[in-house]
Amino acid sequence: MRFNVRFAGLGGQGIITMGLAIGRASSIYDKKYVIMTEAYGPEITGGFARADVIISDEEIDYPLIEHPDILVLMHTDGWERNKDLVTNDSLVIYDDFLAKVEESGNGQFFKIPSFSVGNELGRKVVANVVMMGAIQEITKIVSKEALRKALLDLVPKGTEELNLTALERGYEIGSKIGGKIEA
């Protein structure tokens, strides 16, 4: 089983962090083979940002993603750059406020209010964590236990509670949508 996951958005949204958290969870705690590659524009914030994560039961040779099985979008820019890669088997999971996505043609689409929920929690920056919770519920590419541990490894001291709350909210949103994918 192999999943190709692409996270796309803008620098500053925690795109690379999403790749690192889900990659770390799968590698260290779920004990899968994982490769993450990253790409971003030269701007400190606001340029394009992308993290590609391959999660596999077997050793990974070619380390790059041609077609994502799962495309996670935190901004319209990510959709513009990747919409041609979406196939009938792709899952497109996107923020319903920040990413304008035309839900026609290929793929299965999931709208997640990650930014709004982040806002509700008082810190917009946890939108990516809400999104990760939703991704977990919808795709099951990573276990909850592993994701929680990996997240706690990565977030700054003093923000653990906020991040875990954001993750829980993501789980709630995702579980209402449901839809475990079959690889």
């Binding site: 770390r24 994982v34 070619y62 380390p63 790059l64």
Partner: protein
């Protein structure tokens, strides 16, 4: 000073794995100048070195960085720098100095698209020849070519060991794909690893010579031990004093060359997979070899007898290994992310009856597996 290592399983960036490998090998000094895509090496070194009792310095440029690690190494501290194409160009003169003065240092080149500033954020394997021939004069280079995050760690230790053992600069040729890739890494206990330290002379020898020509690799006195030594880039005698003469040049150059020639089998490492019954072999190294492996596996599913020959060390060139391979297969495809560099020594050393085919890539990405597979299929049917 306590030494802090992060043992066990990690999900780590390739560039960072190089740092952990270097520290494990005993590296305690880094001088560098930031450059994409090698900067994460310097960044991690800047906080990791103090944790193990070492020192980090950001220099004014790459020329000075190379000079600083040579100086630190003569002081007995294992030293490293890291850069990418344009920075390596600036280091070349002093790499020659390290070779001539026989100072162990490790240089990491995380290759990016060139020439000139080229493509800072995108990959390439176009510095293969520069690694070997970039500095002037007759010299040799040992160059390791890792292809996974784990090998970034493992080969860095090998690079330090080789530089210490042979008293010579050693290069690690990574690239942007590997440097900025995050993947599985296992860091073992130091006791489980082979770490080689340079030979130093005993204290108080009356007849110690820094460049004793009776030895293939003379023990290296450390600055401060009390020995009076002289080190220079000029052709020198056994004491290290300049001796710009035909006789001294021949004596010195031949000994330096012999350090490599007599140790080829200890230095050279290659890997073959699926070559037992292969009619075609794809020769490759680094990140590109991962794409090749994918293509070879797919070709095997279609019963094409193809295998992979991977250079784990590129320099010194594995002449005998290529000759041996070329006698077993009828064709060798050389897949590389440049417009045809490594194909030249492959051609030069292969059996004339073996056909050598170039699969070049102008850079910015490694080949897609289907591009390599298409070439394999074409050659299998022609």
């Amino acid at each position: 000073m306590s030494e802090k290592y992060y043992l066990g399983k990690h999900f780590m960036m390739g560039n960072h794995a190089i740092v952990e490998g270097a520290l494990m090998a005993g590296c305690r000094f880094f001088a560098g100048y930031p450059i994409t895509p090698a900067s994460p090496i310097a960044e991690r070194m800047s906080w990791r070195l103090p944790e193990v009792g070492g020192a980090y310095i950001q220099m004014e440029d790459e020329i000075a960085s190379m000079a600083a690690i040579i100086g630190a190494s003569t002081g007995g501290v294992k030293s490293m720098t890291a850069t990418s194409g344009p920075g390596l160009s600036l280091m070349l003169e002093n790499i020659g100095l390290a070779y001539m003065m026989e100072v162990p240092v490790v240089i990491v080149n995380i290759m990016r698209g060139g020439p000139s500033t080229g493509m800072p954020t995108l990959t390439s394997q176009a510095d293969v020849m520069q690694a070997r021939w970039g500095s002037h004069g007759d010299y040799d280079m040992i160059a390791y070519a890792p292809s996974t995050v784990q090998e970034m760690f493992d080969f860095t230790i090998k690079a330090f060991n080789a530089s210490e053992k042979y008293r010579t600069p050693v290069m690690i040729l990574g690239d942007q794909v590997l440097g900025l890739m995050t993947s599985d890494l296992y860091v073992p206990h130091k006791e489980e690893l082979e770490v080689i330290d340079r030979k130093i002379p005993e204290d108080g020898l009356e007849d110690y010579l820094m460049y004793d020509s009776k030895e293939l690799i003379p023990p290296m006195a450390i600055a401060g031990m009390g020995y009076k030594v002289h080190m220079t880039g000029l052709t020198h005698n056994d004491k290290g004093y300049p001796d710009v003469s035909v006789v001294a040049q021949e004596k010195l150059m031949k000994r330096l060359k012999a350090k490599f020639k007599q140790n080829l089998s200890n230095i050279i490492e290659v890997e073959e997979r699926y070559t037992e019954d292969a009619e075609i072999a794809v020769a490759c190294f680094g990140s590109e070899s991962r794409s090749v492996l994918n293509a070879v596996k797919k070709a095997r599913e279609e019963n094409i007898r193809v295998g992979i020959f991977r250079f784990k060390t590129i320099w010194p060139f594995p002449e005998n290994e290529i000759l041996d391979l070329s006698k077993r297969v009828s064709k060798i495809i050389v897949a590389e992310v440049n417009l045809g560099q490594l194909i030249h020594p492959v051609k030069e050393n292969a059996d004339p009856d073996c056909e050598i085919i170039s699969l070049p890539h102008a850079g910015g990405a490694i080949h897609k597996p289907e591009e390599i597979l298409a070439m394999i299929k074409k050659e299998a049917t022609s």
